[in-house]
């Protein structure tokens, strides 16, 4: 097997392992957090 193929295999193993762990513990970088420090500078409609 070429080196690059082996590296790609390891890369995929890493991704799958990380995904599995995150799924098991319900973790995600896309989770909601508290009120962000800088929300949009004002509240209200943006239209125009």
């Amino acid at each position: 097997m070429r080196l690059s193929t082996l590296l790609y295999l390891l890369w995929c193993v890493l991704i799958v392992a990380a995904f599995g762990t995150a799924t098991r513990y319900g973790w995600s970088p896309y989770a909601s957090g508290g009120r962000p420090v800088f929300t949009r500078g004002f509240v209200g409609p943006h239209h125009k």
Binding site: M1, R2, S4, T5, Y8, L9, W11, C12, V13, I15, V16, A18, F19, G20, A22, T23, R24, Y25, G26, W27, S28, P29, Y30, A31, S32, G33, G34, R35, P36, V43, G44, P45, H46, H47, K48
Partner: protein, 429 residues
Amino acid sequence: MTSAPAVKALICPNCGAPVEIRAAGYTVSFVCGHCGTTLDAIDPELKPIAAAQKAFKKPEIALGTRAMLRGGEWEAIGYVERTDGETPWAEYLLFSPYLGYRFLVDAGSRWSLGTVLDRVPERRVGDRVWLDRKSYGRASEENYVARVTFVVGEFYWRVAVGETVRVTEFERSGALLSCEANDAERTWTRLDILKPGEAEAAFGIPPREEEEDDDSDDPLRPSPYAGRLWSWGAIALFAIGFLVLSTWSARPKQQLFFAQLSAIPDAPEKTAVLGQVTIDQTEPVTITGSADNLDNEWIDVDYSLVNRKTQESYDAYATLEHYHGTDSDGAWQEGSPVGIVKLSSVPPGQYDLVADISAHRWAASGPYGNLSASAQDATATLPITVWVDRGGSFSGNFWTALLLILAWPSVLAYLHYAHEKRRQLAYNR
């Protein structure tokens, strides 16, 4: 039963050197390896029919060398050098009494094995030809003329220095169809590109240096990315399979409870305890808040999931809003009265879900044109419904993981495509 002799020993009438005919009965012209004179092999006297060549060379594979190549035993019996006017190349005539003839083409970094076809490829749409259910495209826009510059050994046709043929080539990955024509006849040959080192190892000559440069214009070279693309694709498919498996085996989303509350616009912020949540394994918690009757109003909701024992708080924030108005383009609407927050990795424990709610009304006119005046009473309360779920998974995780897995094969696929495109455009012998 005795075997028939394989070699016919004769004397060259021009220089007196002993010569061996290896394909007696088939060989028509024989070029003496010592003096370079072409002899008529059909004539029992071996009459010379062309004068000795001036510049004499010894082929890299000595004539008479035997080798196993692609499942057959072959003997190199003839050697020609040809040129298209720019690039020279060499061809060996390989012979086996039981398998016939083949051409071993030496194009420098690439060797190929040619078989003369006994059938003509089918010509179909455009410039493609079909042979044995495989299609070949034109290798280049122009034909070229191949001219013999040097010859030694035995041949089954009347070979001569200076003889020319017009060559048209068709290619697919790893193979070439060559059509050679002169006034008298037309011959089709299929050339299979050999692996690097294959011909050299078979015939016992030093291996040629492989060109590592992927930008080489060698048109006979199939894409170096093709093989890897298949194995990487298989790896990616397995990895994606595991992602899907992992997602399915996550605990599905399960509703815990829902609560109803209300807020008064422009009233001071109020805090409400929505309910209790029991978590028994680390998992996400999804809180969906919805306010139906928003009319140019918005509600800020700060959620806190507070662990009763440790008092640790997991916070999230949502805005429920809806605005509408008219301007020069007509009526417009904006904002979503539904806000979904998802808390990640909430540890096991007993929690109270607390929400700080504050509602506001937008002024009737402002920098956004004229909003419709709120149809509601200044003191009317806004109902809010909140659903709480636990479990489930984040789709964002899945898509991110998918993207990361497919990133490298995509790069490889692009490189493969670019190489093949270059191969089509840059073909020039």
